[in-house]
Symmetry: C2
Subunit: 452 residues, 2 copies
């Protein structure tokens, strides 16, 4: 009874997969926030190296993974695919449950899949410094790790409340040699302005983005890096699904259902897009389910419209499922899923009917995560608990319907840095705070007028 399906290094994919090649309709254009005209490469050049801008727009199906990136991937990839025998038994389901585990990366999540190539392409372009923002710390850790390997200085603006509450995350970033700065900070004009108004400001992701971008555009040797949402980020994550396809074949199975959790969309795209493309090209079709938190229900309650990527409304306009850039989700524990928008490619796929979306409250997700930990051993990150919950519900449906379906889900990271959330869960301190309906309505009414 095989539990783990492992690929040898020689079987690691040599190409990323680009769903843009197989979309029946092309992605809507990205618009300049001032002119509302489609942006060109030169608009993005202050922030990203040309190789990544090209990946942002290309419709080529396969993009070669550079050898130095593959060399680093080998530190943890190919990542294992597991059959969850014990969880199946605990649920009494006839379904076969498989999960791809991305927590084996040094940072503990799928984020290094894109941090590594982003660092590589920037280094190739002569960039010596990268700036970024981080909330919970998962992305900041990954970019710090990538910077240490490609000799790039990394400055991470960490939202001040996280900086103070999660000192372990900061310690990991510093161990990798990065500079971790509490945001708002004195390092930027914007940060100084915020602090002048309120010296005790606890920060927000929107402010941290503004600070990171401000530093990047000031210096031609400095660029900015983003950990989700963008097309090139989703491209890099496709390695998850490409490996999983090989591993499902090793297991002599093909998924009837694929489940992933969605915040910005990158781990979901990573597991799902290669299977979507396979079906679009005439291959076997899997039902695909995105799971999001009901406190930030971008796909299930948001509008598909042009919107800004940041709170300060400085980024280009992209067409996506959004709750409005003015929407502030309540403070729940899956920090990686607290984003008002959704990756444009994921949003486009949703509009094309390529997958379904469901929303769960955080307590039912923690309950699922604890059941998973007690049977499979791995303690999932709060974000990953959403995928666990989605997969368990599919398995229970199979039980009710007496169906032996094959379920595959992406376990995008472990929860070792998030144990305070489990403590709150056991103490009964977690609430299923929903968003404020009035605030959502207001945020949606503030969408830019390009949609009118």
């Amino acid at each position: 009874m095989q539990t783990k399906f492992l690929l040898q290094e020689s079987q690691m994919p040599k190409y990323w997969y680009n769903l843009q090649a197989d979309f029946p309709e092309p992605l809507p254009a990205v618009l300049h926030p001032g002119t509302q005209q489609p942006v060109g490469p030169s608009d993005l050049e202050p922030l990203f190296p040309m190789a990544l801008i090209e990946q942002e727009v290309t419709t080529e199906r396969e993009i070669e993974i550079p050898e130095p990136v593959r060399d680093v991937y080998k530190l943890w990839r190919p990542a294992p695919l597991y059959r969850a025998h014990r969880l199946e038994k605990a649920l009494g389901t006839p379904a076969k449950i498989f999960y791809k585990y991305e927590g084996v990366s040094p940072a503990g999540s799928h984020k290094p899949n894109t941090a590594i190539p982003q660092a590589f392409y920037n280094r190739e372009a002569g960039i010596r410094t990268l700036t970024t923002e981080t909330g919970a710390g998962q992305w900041g850790t990954s970019l710090s790790f990538a910077g240490s390997l490609f000799d790039i200085d990394v400055t991470v603006f960490q939202v001040r409340v996280s900086y103070n509450q999660k000192p372990y995350r900061r310690a990991v970033m510093e161990t990798y040699g990065a500079r971790c700065v509490a945001s708002p900070s004195e390092l930027t004009e914007f940060g100084r302005k915020v602090l002048a108004d309120n010296p005790d400001h606890t920060g927000s992701l929107g402010i941290a983005i503004s600070e990171a971008v401000e530093l990047a555009v000031q210096d031609p040797n400095t660029k900015y890096a983003l950990g989700s949402v963008l097309n090139h980020v989703l491209l890099h994550q496709s390695i998850i699904g490409l490996e999983a396809m090989q591993q499902m074949e090793m297991a002599d199975c093909w998924p009837d259902v694929i489940v992933g959790c969605t915040g910005g969309g990158s781990n979901f795209a990573g597991i799902a897009f290669p299977f979507m493309g396979h079906a679009l090209r005439g291959g076997e079709k899997s039902r695909i389910v995105a799971v999001e938190p009901s406190a930030c229900p971008t796909l299930t309650r948001g509008r598909y419209a042009y919107d800004y990527g940041d709170t300060a409304q400085m980024t280009p306009l992209t067409k996506m499922h959004t709750l409005g850039s003015g929407f502030t989700p309540p403070g729940f524990h899956a920090g990686g899923l607290r984003y008002h928008g959704m990756a444009p490619m994921v949003s486009h796929a949703k509009e094309l009917g390529l997958f379904d979306a469901v929303a769960y409250t955080q307590r039912e997700c923690f309950e699922a995560g604890v059941l998973f930990a007690r049977n499979e051993g791995i303690v999932p990150a709060p974000e990953a608990n959403h995928a666990v919950k989605g997969a368990i519900d599919e398995a229970l449906r199979c039980k009710r319907e007496g169906k032996e379906e094959v379920i595959l889900f992406n376990l995008c990271g472990h929860g070792h840095f998030d144990m305070a959330a489990y403590t709150s869960y056991f103490a009964g301190d977690l609430s299923d705070h929903e968003y404020d309906e009035q605030e959502l309505a207001m945020a949606l009414s503030g969408l830019p007028s390009v949609n009118a």
Copy 2:
């Protein structure tokens, strides 16, 4: 250029290896603390199930790993062996550095290798509850994990100061369903006595052991579990070295030098004993190096003598390298290496000249760990940093001597739960506290008179 050497599940060892079969001289007897006569199985029965007592004394070379244990091992085993290409390059050494990585287990260290079989054999014997103690939390986490899989209630007495300082560890244990109790506690007579004298007592490993043992001996359905030192624990850890032997063959290399860190001795024995036995049976001989903290230098400064395993002097007497059961090592960050004694089998092997020992201070070990993290990506546990430091020093010796030796070390766990130690290191707050010479002399002079 291959980085990772992976075994398939079918290649996972089916037998543990017992060095007792190949010792040129048998282990000294274990003595009853009262009579000073060799202990028999019945003396140990209140604490351990008979299957483990048999493993404690057997001189059979191969002990079959039960199928249900192998099934659980598959959740993370076989564990990977890595070639540290980047570290070699950073050091500019002609040596080839390999490391076996045990941090892939759900608990993040090698400890589940023995927690799983201990839970299994106890369950087979009808035991429903296990008690144990934990300091830093690594062992408590592992036994909690094992208990969740074999339907055994686990009560962990965690030293109160750790219980308060490391809430994440406690949260992991509770996620696995264990009961985690701050020691001294009101649950035991001994705990109540300690608290009556001092209600604010911060606890010690010695007190926690006494509490765990007290609960176990009171109830025939409850036994006690220990995470290191004992022969059966070292036996279970042999799977590390057995896998590494196969993986070194895959890499077409054989280690000239093998390095492991030593506290109680279990991860060191795990990597080293199979290679020692191979040499004792006429195979190729590797030089083996044990690395210990200079603040608790059991092998380099202790005496080889009969001593108690616990501070309260209630355990049987075993012949081992010891600093005296009255010795309290200074509070440094590698909590897993703070033990006054050394596993009797490791001590015996040392007396037989089968390996060398060196001691390092904690700051040089953290320095080595940071260099490792910035090149190989994995942030090692403070304990594992000692092995990293030992391996780096061997690699630098090879550089000086122009030798292309093959170095293998055991990276026994990751540091995700120990990032506060790294924060202290970066802040310059770590001191290289040595032990007190006078205290050591006094502790050694208090060794039981059987040695006279």
